[in-house]
């Protein structure tokens, strides 16, 4: 009976016109909601499925943010452990599973870079931190290739690309970006919005 109930949800879910693309995006054989339900039951095979499906995208973010293979490997495990342990905290009505996972991964990665900066600072004082900031700037001025070639990213105007790169791959929060590069926070928000619209066009998400 329980299973029947679970199966009912996605089919109802898809009856709403705005959700008609849900099925299309969950390409593998099992739907996102089913996957979540199985994860809640602590089904290890479901975690493996989840890992196969999303680890690459998350690892791409984590690795670029922390810029260190060992730390990235460890973080990716931490992220999936967190997802495994806190799956009950995920609420499908509030957003997609990937969004939730991405938030966990991005926050963990940003926290990691912070704690490294802080430990550096506590060891050698404020000067090191200043150098760290300069490093961050230099890194940000490297060409897109260091991020990986993505046609979707390449077609964006420079200022939009900048915002997307820094928010997704360089561990900046919007307010940090605003402060460090003297861009009004509202501008950053709009640039990200316009960039996302471009990406939506590119990936034909309508």
């Amino acid at each position: 009976m329980f299973e029947y109930f679970l199966l009912q949800i996605p089919s109802n879910f898809n009856n709403f016109p705005h959700y008609s693309f849900v099925i299309e995006t969950t390409t593998s054989d099992i739907s996102e909601l089913q996957l979540v339900a199985r994860l809640r039951e602590k089904d290890k095979a479901a975690l493996e499925l989840l890992y196969n499906r999303y680890s690459g995208a998350l690892y791409g973010v984590i690795k670029r943010v922390v810029k260190n293979n060992d730390i990235a490997d460890e973080l990716l495990q931490d992220v999936f452990l967190k997802i495994w342990n806190r799956i009950d905290g995920y609420d499908a009505s509030k957003g997609r599973l990937f969004t939730w996972m991405l938030n966990v991964a991005r926050n963990q990665a940003i926290d990691k870079t912070r704690s490294r900066e802080i430990s550096k600072e506590s060891k050698t004082g404020g000067l090191e931190n200043l150098v760290g900031k300069v490093d961050k700037r230099e890194f940000s001025e490297q060409p897109v290739d260091s991020i990986g070639v993505s046609e979707s990213l390449l077609q964006l105007p420079e200022e939009q690309k900048f915002v997307v790169e820094h928010l997704y791959f360089k561990g900046y929060t919007q307010s940090e970006l605003a402060e460090e590069f003297n861009i009004p926070l509202g501008t950053i928000k709009t640039r990200l919005r316009i960039a996302m619209i471009q990406l939506r066009k590119f990936y034909q998400v309508n």
């Binding site: 995006t25 690892y59 791409g60 490997d73 990716l76 452990l81 997704y168 929060t173 919005r193």
Partner: protein, 266 residues
């Protein structure tokens, strides 16, 4: 805020990337739950984000997955799911009947128990309310008495009030009363020290002797407590009290004089 304005502020993109404060997040979640247009927009953003990041995916080393799965095994030693042995359906019906019966008994008992509790609480609440009311009125009485006593003390302690001691006459040798009189403000207060009980139809009447003539200063009963405010008076040389019919008279019945005292000059 209008839907388009809300969308163009970029708050949904910030939500999708996990940039919002818990408060802002709660706000977005609330709004998307009631606005399907916003929900659909968020979904488009999320899907684009997902496709974009999938395109930029980097394969993690293979050992990471193995290590992860090992860690999960270590963290949670397999909680084996033991399936209930299947009994014949009659048994199940029996059990469920027994269970429902037990549940019903329990529910009835609970209903009875809590009803009694409820009545009990109703009663004690009514009792408490009544008690509270009584306390409040008692408090009021006490407060009024306290105010009166404070006023009395002010009069007694005020040096402007001259005290005249009226001692008992031959009619009532043990009677005694004081008059407190302020010459400037003309106020007169009477304090009964010892005056005998009068018949219902009679009352005491205070007189002031002004220019040799008795002037009415008001009537009082023998059981009055504390200071009694009497009529204002000027130029009194002495005070005296007579017994008169209830309500008093215009001139004193001198034979009934109970107490008298001269105002001390100075």
């Amino acid at each position: 805020m209008k839907t388009e304005e809300y969308i163009s502020s970029g708050i949904l993109e910030a939500y999708a990337i996990g940039e919002l404060s818990p408060m802002e997040m709660a706000e977005v979640e609330k709004i998307i739950s009631v606005n399907p247009e916003l929900k659909a927009e968020l979904l488009r953003i999320e899907i684009a984000q997902e496709k974009f990041l999938s395109e930029l995916a980097v394969a993690p080393p293979a050992w990471v997955k193995d290590s992860l799965l090992k860690k999960i095994d270590q963290a949670a030693p397999k909680a084996k799911v033991i399936s209930m042995p299947v009994r014949d359906s009659i048994n199940i019906w029996k059990y469920s009947l027994a269970a429902s019966f037990a549940l019903m008994l329990m529910a009835s008992f609970m209903a009875y128990y809590y009803r009694n509790k409820w009545i009990e609480s109703e009663n004690s609440l009514a009792e408490l309310l009544a008690q509270n009311q009584r306390m409040a009125s008692e408090y009021n009485t006490v407060n009024q008495r306290l105010d009166k006593i404070e006023l009395d003390i002010k009069v007694v302690n005020n040096p402007d009030f001259k005290r005249t001691i009226m001692n008992g006459t031959a009619n009532a040798p043990s009677s005694m009363a004081y008059v407190y009189w302020n010459e400037t403000t003309k106020e007169v207060y009477l304090s009964i020290q010892n005056m005998k009980q009068l018949a219902q139809e009679n009352q005491y009447q205070l007189w002031a002797i002004v220019d040799g003539k008795p002037v009415d200063a008001g009537v009082f009963d023998s059981n009055a407590a504390g200071l009694l405010k009497m009529k204002d008076m000027t130029g009194a040389a002495a005070f005296a009290v007579t017994i008169e019919p209830r309500g008093g008279k215009t001139s004193p019945t001198l034979e009934t004089m109970q107490v008298i005292g001269n105002v001390v000059k100075g």
